[in-house]
Amino acid sequence: MERDVIGWSGLAASLTFVLLAVALTGRHRLGLSRGIGVAVGRSLVQMAVVGTALVPIVDPDTPLLWSWAWVLAIVGFAAVTTARRAPAVPGLVWVALAANALVGATGLSVIFGLGILELSGRTLVPVAGMIIGNSMKAAVVGAARMAESVADHRPEIEAGLALGMTTRAASKRLVRSSLRTAISPQVEQTAALGIVFLPGAMTGLILAGAEPLEAVRTQLALMYVILAGVVMAATTTGLGTLARLTTPDARVLPLDRVA
């Protein structure tokens, strides 16, 4: 089968749809036209840089070590991004780093250790990006929701602590709510897979000429790993955030900047 490759003219054509989005936001005075322009511009530059940098990385002659270095960079950037979204949580970057590293290590172990995909630069970097990228989104929501919950429901938590409850027991309801908020979108996405949308990896493989069933198997394997990764990342980051906002002797730290 001949591969369908989007050329520069095709990319430019896709931007006409963005013009429609800008016109729509302008018509309703949403104040997002500039933001959309910046986002499109940044994505063009970032993807051009990443694409160019990936060429030597995924080259079969390049040592795999460089791909692993790229994966480490993904883990680091994901941790910094998560920490930035909940700046009031002290030391969140270390929690997020541990969460992303955990998800990356277990996810990649499953994908490559069980032989689901063959380990190479061409597979390692994009698979790591998909797993950690999705986990990062859940980690951001988990950390931010947990921080907001602790700030908003401090009296409820302290009422429990004052009775002699542990921190986890006193914040059980809030932990459950925060983690469900962080994890539920990925559960919904997995449930709607193939019906509502065709995910990126599958679409990419089909566009690249792969058989649809082969693409489906690859996508499903990735989605299951991503689902597990999201749960691990949200749980680790959410509970880590709670631990960072409380003390070992079960006190809640001041949270003025969160509220």
Binding site: A159, G164, R251, P254
Partner: protein
């Protein structure tokens, strides 16, 4: 009798603000000790130090002579019940609330606890959210009693309640004190202080201005300073009136 709580040169800083400034005071293990002061005087922080919701940044808080920082916090908090400004019912029924830290609590004991705080035991199966503010606060007191505490700490516990509910909670505090369970009661309300206080701790700007039985002129001067400068929250403040614990307006909420 030795002091229940002793604050020895205790300081507390929060985000570069001095909340307690080298506080040295004793709280006896009997009667009702009222901690009075204007907003921001540090009285709630003093109370929170008593059950370790706050940890001093300087000095030592002792409980029965033992350094609080060396005691297991969760076990200590079960000895030192605390009720907050707004009622904090947990989701579920009243019985669920009473079982929050005592899951084996039987229905009869739950009913006895409700009766002890003046609530109809039939409310055990009611949703805690359906209680009025005063009922919810008394349920919170009943919930605090499930751990069989040695002392009750009340942090502006009537500020969200109407006059009737306030009177009932004050009567409950007096009942506890007469029954041998000391109460430490934080308020900015001078009338409430008169109705309740066996002992006083008068605070201003994170410091203790005066402490003791509160039946002399020094106490009056300290209260005047604590409540009037900055201006008192309580409009009905009468600085020239002496403290009279047996005043006939004990239940007067105006």
């Amino acid at each position: 009798m030795s002091a229940l709580f002793e604050f020895d040169d205790v300081s507390l800083r929060k985000q570069d603000m001095v909340v307690l400034d080298r506080v040295t005071v004793s709280i006896p293990g009997r009667g009702v000790t009222v901690v009075i002061g204007a907003s921001g005087a540090g009285k709630s922080s003093l109370l929170r130090c008593c059950n370790r919701l706050e940890a001093p940044t300087g000095g030592i808080v002792r409980f029965h002579g033992e350094d609080l920082s060396t005691l297991p916090p969760l076990a200590h908090r079960r000895c030192v019940a605390m009720v907050f400004q707004a009622p904090t019912p947990f989701p579920g029924t009243v019985l669920d609330n009473l079982r929050a830290v005592t899951p084996d609590l039987d229905i009869d004991t739950g009913a006895e606890l409700l009766a002890r705080v003046g609530l109809d035991p039939a409310k055990l199966e009611r949703s805690a959210d359906s209680l009025s503010g005063g009922e919810a606060q008394r349920m919170v007191v009943a919930r605090a009693l499930t751990t069989d505490p040695e002392v009750l700490l009340a942090d502006e516990a009537t500020s969200a309640l109407d006059a009737t509910a306030t009177t009932r909670l004050e009567e409950l505090a007096r009942t506890f004190a007469h029954g041998g369970m000391p109460v430490v009661w934080v308020t900015h309300d001078l009338h409430q202080m008169r109705r309740l206080a066996d002992q006083l701790v008068v605070m201003r700007s994170g410091r203790v201005l005066w402490s003791g039985a509160g039946d002399d002129g020094e106490a009056d001067a300290a209260i005047e300073l604590a409540l009037c400068d900055p201006p008192a929250v309580d409009d009905a403040y009468k600085p020239q009136q002496p403290i009279d614990r047996n005043a006939p307006d004990r239940n007067d909420n105006n």
